[in-house]
Symmetry: C2
Subunit: 401 residues, 2 copies
């Protein structure tokens, strides 16, 4: 396990992000949802604490915490007053090393898993993005963490124990800590809590194929929900900041092209944006818009036209605005232990090192319209994966406004 | 207008929250959505800036901003590096005093309003809470900001100009600023920007009646969405912190009673919680759970049993956990200029003064199980407003587990 830390002595809080290499990509093909199920069970008692005491002790320490499951990792993160951090870490060190995985809570946990799955069915805006990831990335890299009903119905305690045994391991795990902290003391604490964690080999992942490039999911929703994804470079690529700048101009914030063209000028939707998503060695740009059925075709047409335009380059004024927003965001990130603990853990996962905010700031300063346009000339948006959800399918009219 | 400020010299950012007394309660009965429509139009150019330059200038200043419309107020808030605050305030001073309300953008704005309305239709978890507020509070105090299709279809530029003219006014407006700031300089800036804003009288609000106590909205959703509301004291009431403590034990966090009984023990749902909501002189507790149709009756039964139990009092250990969480939350609030600017503006609205975090901390220390139980004995949860959304209606079995 790697410990990365960033002291922020001007704060009174401290935050941690603990990533273990247990991701949905490791689920057997008929066990969709096993990683989330394992995580749900790992949180139902660990070490000296049963399920109830686990939750109560964290509350008594004032820890605001959450868990998350993605294709490559299971993450546990939390923040509290700095003095309570060591005990909070002790509790989560038990979760990743000594969870009870109590069989008598298996059915309650299974029901929670079912309900989560159904909650997504009632959120079409979220569902279309989950499906876009599933279609865009080659299996198993786009798997939804929620799994599917049949698999969750069938999973017993043994697959959960096996999944835990194989994938909750220190080789590949990362602990990021940021906030008010004393480095030698933190190092000792973490050594004591996690130093004896046994490494083990995990089976590799075999890449499958991606889903259909164009898919319509018929559902009697009030809006038609549109997702468009296309290829970009991963976070660790030298071109990453160029790609990031291009996505920012495309769809981040109210002066972005998508917001301007789709919402402000044409009133086609309430929500529209584009965001960057990266795995270790592949990445995608994911655009979303939700609109009424009768405006859906026009919305998709405009989105594709905006994407096609982006390939022709961005302007200096657009980049200046983006830089101002990013620089302001960096300063505010410096005020949040939670944001930094998550960022440094993620940096280590992708880069094997941490970028300081100063370094990011210098890189952003160095971006020019020319550098981004050179990138866009090499890798224009194209070859789209398009998933729509709503009452009627749409036509894909590339290059038509 | 009142300016309230809290210097946080350990930060590099500054944040503002500008509240104007334009709320949905002021909408003529056939103009549901007029306040949001007016806000959407006010953001399409003001003072020397047209719609485009307004957005671009805010981006160039690195301002992360948002607007919000509630029954009593329209709010504009933002955060940026401290040095850019005066210009950000200048831009929003134009929005509230000199918006163009450009007729040539009326149709685009109307379409955005329609799309927002439809987006809510596709989010049943949000919709059931909107309907719970509408049913719980006597009209017009529970009106949804999104309005309704017929009204939005019919609203022209004149009602918008009239609504702006009547309700965007300094008497009743509050500006909260927190972060790195210089008080004399801030006072001068605000005097210059907003000192000439003309007061005017606004018509009063006539209270109508509340909606049905039990309502089912039939919709073919995957989950049944359940909202239960009941009466509590408003924020300015001397009993507020007792009420807040009781709601915390009931439904805030993972060791709360609702989470424990509904989700953890029985696996009935993925999301369940209770939250406190206050207007100036009335308030409600709103509980939510989303569950499958076949478990919905049991979920509602358990929720009502938990509420009924709460009336019999809380335990010392529950309060200790809640206090620990609140104290930790207060320390983290001290690290966020955005949280503080919003809090001090809200304090002024409700109390006519600002509570410092030290004062809140002392009040929380003073809470005891006895003080909260005395409150609960006087005002136990009862007389519920229950709104459900899903394929089938439920029975209301008070006192049955």
């Amino acid at each position: 396990m790697v410990l990365v830390a960033e002291p922020m002595p001007w704060l009174d809080s401290a935050a941690f992000t603990l990533l273990v290499p247990a991701g949905c990509v490791h689920e057997p093909a008929d066990c969709g949802g096993l990683t989330s199920f394992t995580c749900e069970m790992a949180l139902r008692g660990a070490g000296p604490r049963d399920s109830r005491r686990f939750i109560e002790d964290l509350d008594n320490l004032g820890v605001e915490w959450s868990d998350s499951v993605s294709t490559a990792r299971t993450g546990f993160s939390g923040a509290t007053v700095a003095g309570n951090l060591p005990t909070a870490l002790e509790i989560f060190a038990d979760v990743v090393q000594r969870p009870h995985l109590p069989e008598d809570q298996l059915e309650a946990a299974r029901l929670v898993m079912f309900q989560e799955l159904r909650a997504v069915e009632d959120e079409p805006a979220q569902k279309v993005m989950i499906e876009a990831q599933r279609h865009y990335y080659p299996d198993p890299w786009g798997r939804p963490s929620q799994g599917n009903e049949e698999a969750i119905e069938a999973i017993g305690i043994e697959p959960i124990r096996r999944h835990f045994g194989l994938h909750y391991r220190p080789n590949g795990a990362i602990l990021g800590v940021a906030g008010r902290l004393d480095w030698p003391e933190l190092k000792d604490t973490v050594e004591r809590l996690l130093g004896g964690w046994d490494s083990r080999q995990a089976p590799g992942v075999v890449d499958g194929v991606a889903g259909k490039k164009v898919e319509h999911l018929e559902q009697e929703t009030k809006q038609t929900h549109i997702a468009v994804a296309y290829d970009t470079v991963p976070y660790r690529d030298p071109d990453y900041f160029q790609a990031w700048g291009a996505v920012g101009v495309l769809g981040s914030g109210m002066s972005s092209r998508l917001f301007t063209e789709v919402r402000e000028r044409r009133g086609l939707c309430y929500h529209v944006d584009a965001s960057y998503h990266s795995l270790l060695d592949r990445a995608g740009v994911f655009c979303y818009a939700g609109t009424s059925a009768e405006r859906a075709q026009e919305t998709l047409d405009v989105m594709l036209a905006v994407l096609s335009d982006l390939g022709r380059g961005i302007e200096a004024a657009e980049l200046d605005r983006l830089k101002a927003r990013i620089k302001s965001g960096l300063i505010m990130q410096q005020e949040s232990s939670t944001a930094r603990s998550s960022m440094i853990a993620s940096d280590w996962y992708h880069l094997g090192r941490v970028r300081t905010l100063d370094e990011v700031s210098r890189i952003v300063d160095g971006l020019t319209p020319e550098s981004i346009n050179a990138y866009l000339a090499r890798r224009p948006p194209r070859d789209y994966t398009i998933v729509t959800l709503g009452p009627r399918p749409l036509e894909v009219n590339i290059g038509v406004r």
